[in-house]
Each structure stands twice: as C-alpha cells, then as structure tokens.
C-alpha cells in the first residue's frame, strides 16, 4: 500500500510546486520603492520645456506617475483606460514621457487624447533609472506625503483600475 502512496504524495507535491510556478510572473520584479519616498527629479514639461516639475510640487495630493512613450505598443492599449480614469477626475495623473521624441509624443496626445494633468520629458531615461523603470508602461501610485505606495508594471487595464487603483486611491485620499 505504502508503495503506491509514496509516489502519489511525491507527485502531488511536485504538482503543487509546478502549479505555483505556472502562476508566477517572473517578468514582474518586486519594486524596492514601495513605501519609500519618490526619487527626486526636476524635469521639463513636455508641452512647455522651459517649465519644470518636481515631486515636491505635488505634495499634499495623491498622484499617479505613468511612464509612457509614443513608441510603446502596450501604451496604446493602456491609453483609453487612462483617458477614462482621467475623466473620473479623482486623481492627478502625471505622465513620464520616457525616451521619446517630443514631437511624436505631442502628436500622440493630440490624436489619442491627453489623460495627463502634466507630462514631463525624460529624453535620456535618467528619471526612468531613478524609478527603476525597466519596461514601459509602468504606473506608480504616490500618496500625499510623497511615498510610493504601489507600482504596476505593464499596461493598466480597466480591471486593474476597478480592483486595485481606485480602491487604493480612495484609501490614500482619506489619509492625511
């Protein structure tokens, strides 16, 4: 009897591990920034390069930092979701235009709509490095005290907005 039970148990253990392995997402690297202050930047605005924006300007409000680029294919699928989130008017959305050409970026916003309160340019990807960006699009949720509370790698879907982002934003809005 034992002769049959032991392989069965071994198989089940293996199956459990393989099952866990199947559900892991190795491309999603945990961000070391969770609950850490936003890295400093002072970046030119996309539509007005002479004006600068830094995280300190956004203190006291909950904001999203969405990393995007006109060359990024998944950003295109994410864009309508951001547009509809922007229409809800519940959170400030800052776009980080990552390693992009400003002309292309502005044209993209013109034709697809602009969900961003402001977009800033990161022509050389340096701000990206400071935020540990490794794939566009990425989205950070930042609280009123300038702490990063959540990061999503990859395009935000309508489901993510409903299940993750909105509840978190509402919770953070209630914090002082």
């Amino acid at each position: 009897m034992l002769k049959y039970i032991i392989p069965l148990i071994l198989f089940m253990v293996l199956a459990v591990f393989l099952g866990i392995g199947l559900n892991l997402k190795p491309s999603e690297i945990p961000s070391p920034f969770i609950n850490k202050p936003t890295p400093y930047f002072s970046a030119s605005k996309l539509d007005a390069p002479e004006e600068k924006l830094s995280p300190a300007d956004l203190k006291g409000q909950v904001w999203l930092l969405n990393v995007w680029a006109s060359w990024c294919v998944s950003c295109r699928s994410e864009h309508p979701v951001l547009n509809s989130l922007a229409q809800k008017n519940v959170v400030t959305i800052i776009g980080l235009n990552y390693k992009d050409d400003s002309v292309n970026a502005l044209r993209w916003l013109d034709s697809l709509g602009n969900p961003y309160n402001t977009s800033i340019s990161d022509l050389e990807g340096r701000i990206g490095i400071d935020y540990g960006v490794y794939g566009v699009p990425e989205t950070f949720v930042i609280d009123k005290n300038g702490l990063i509370r959540h990061k999503q790698t990859g395009p935000v879907t309508e489901q993510d907005v409903q299940n993750v982002l909105l509840p978190l934003i509402i919770k953070l809005q209630a914090e002082s």
């Binding site: 491309s27 945990p30 070391p32 920034f33 990807g125 990206g128 490095i129 935020y131 490794y134």
Partner: protein, 157 residues
C-alpha cells in the same frame, strides 16, 4: 569539414553589445567590465547588461560608466542599482534573509539526494544478502543431496 568546424566556433563566440566605452584608468576599465557582467538586464532577464543590446542595458552601462568616472566604488554602484531595481538586478544576489533559500536550497537538495542514494543502496544490500541464502552455492549439504536425488528421479518422467 575543417572550415565548417572553424565557422562553428566563430558563431559560438560570446557576443557583446557594441558601445565600447573606454575609461582612462585601466583599473576603472576593469571595474566597468566586472560590473557590467554582474548586473542583469531587466528586459531580457537572462543576459547581463554587458551582453544585452536592449535600450535599458545600454542606459545602465552608461550609468555605470559615468559613476566610475565620478570615482564611485563598485559597492556604491551596486547599491545604486539594487536601490532602484532590487536584488534581482544582481546575478549573484547577496546572502540575506530573503535570498537565503536560493543559496541554501541546492545544498539541501544535494544532501537529500545523497541520503536517498545511501538508504537505497543500504536496502539493496540487505535484501541481496537475504536472497543470497537461497542461491545454489550456499545450499547446505542436505538440501544438495535432496536436489540431486530429485534430479535423478526426474529423468524418468
């Protein structure tokens, strides 16, 4: 055939991404090469930033280069990277609570394997000893006689 062999080795040569940067100081240059081979490209996760042609890898090489130029030490640069990308950016993660399983597990599995082999061999030996009592060479004289007589009789049928 000889040429084919040669061509094969040409293909097999490990490729390095091209944007050769040369630091003035040979020690720094060496550090640059060490660091870029220790840091993982996060886009193509099984390549170092020295190997990868991804844009991010090239940006990270630039970052390493600039920091070395500024006179930063290897440790400072590694810290800079792990602060931003986590331990994952290191090909050789530091030994700490979170990564201990990664370091210990292979040893544990090796021990487990050796233990299983040991138990298995031991079992095999004891069963083969028990069996060997029944083998023809070890029969006692009385049994041998019985077999002999049975065989002799068996010829008749």
């Amino acid at each position: 055939m000889k040429y084919l062999f040669f061509a094969f080795f040409l293909i097999c040569q490990s490729s390095y991404a091209l944007d050769a940067r040369q630091l003035a100081d040979p020690i720094q240059q060496e550090n640059y090469e060490i660091l870029t081979k220790e840091l993982r490209c996060l886009v193509c996760q099984n390549q170092t930033i020295a190997d990868s042609n991804a844009e991010l890898a090239s940006d990270l090489r630039r970052q390493v280069y600039e920091m070395l130029e500024q006179g930063k030490s290897n440790d400072e640069i590694v810290l800079f990277m792990t602060d931003r990308y986590g331990d994952f950016v290191l090909y050789k993660p530091a030994f700490k609570g979170k990564t201990s399983l990664l370091w210990i597990a292979p040893g544990v599995f090796l021990m487990l394997g050796l233990l299983i082999v040991y138990v298995f061999i031991k079992q095999k030996k004891s069963t083969s000893k028990a069996k060997s009592a029944d083998q023809p060479g070890n029969l006692d004289a009385e049994k041998q006689k019985k077999i002999r007589s049975l065989l002799d009789k068996g010829d008749l049928s």
